[in-house]
Amino acid sequence: MSQFAVSWNLSRQRFKDALDGLTQEQLNWHIHPGALSLGEMAIHVAGVEVSFAHQLAEEPLDAFADRLRAAATDGVVNDKPFPFGQEEISLPTVHRALDVSRGFLEPLMQAPSNDVLRKEIVSALGPMISGEGALARLAFHSAYHQGQAHLIKTSPAFPK
């Protein structure tokens, strides 16, 4: 297993587990205006993975993966609408998103070449970063959102 894969696997699996069994209403609930719902959060996590992996590996994206890529930024760090509407954010969609992004990223996480580690790509907030920097971000990104997911799920107002 490569450099960043331990932290990535651990935090990503915990994040995915936190979503298990959630209803569509729960996935689309917003704890306060402007905060991501759990469903949007999961699609955003997948979107950042697709965005970075696509730039690092230069593999083509199908229409679904391209919408995921947009979810890395749209409606999260800019004022554009989130690329997925509430009506389509359900557990199967969330699982599909995380499975698709894993498919793109896992080979890079497991055995990144020196070219991948040195490659320059655009980060979610805009600056150019190295492939090594991108993999380091992804190693803790889902943990960051898993913490928020726990807070949302344990809120007394979270839909039962």
Binding site: P33, G34, H141, A143, Y144
Partner: protein, 148 residues
């Protein structure tokens, strides 16, 4: 796990690459830190106290502290601290992340656990737990800002 990669993970958490820097995110007026914003279950201050407690215990174990040293503190997990503790908790949490980064990058590997593997696992725990609580604390801070 390669330790240079682990040091890089700490660097990115501390310097806030694509997430808010912990130092900036935890710059909050003292009168706001204990506010409970419904429907959130606890305050920023309680969250920081919890995050800092576990980070302190894991760092202590890396430095050879007794496994039982934190038993009393565990009983007070998720306590409601007095707001006057905020600055000290913030300072300890931020310095703890820097100390974890230093240990991850140290050569020879500066720890008192039985194996390097165990120390790496402890550092991964600190990194993942730190990122987890940075996410929570940022959500809590935004809720405080949005409450009116």
């Amino acid at each position: 796990m390669d330790r240079s990669a682990l040091a890089e993970v700490f660097k990115q958490i501390i310097e806030g690459y694509d997430i808010p820097t912990p130092a900036g995110m935890l710059r909050v007026k003292r009168e706001d830190v204990a506010i409970l914003v419904e429907p959130l279950p606890y305050s920023l201050l309680t969250n920081l106290a919890h995050a800092n407690l576990w980070q302190r215990l894991w760092l202590a174990s890396l430095k050879g502290g007794s496994r039982k040293a934190g038993m009393e503190e565990w009983k007070n997990d998720f306590r409601i601290p007095d707001p006057s503790e905020w600055n000290a908790l913030r300072k300890e949490f931020l310095e703890g992340l820097l100390e974890a980064q230093r240990i991850a990058a140290s050569e020879p590997f500066d720890h008192k656990l039985q194996s390097d593997q165990e120390a790496v696992e402890k550092l991964v725990k600190i990194a993942v737990h730190g990122a987890y609580h940075c996410g929570q604390m940022n959500l809590l801070k935004r809720a405080i800002k949005n409450r009116t």
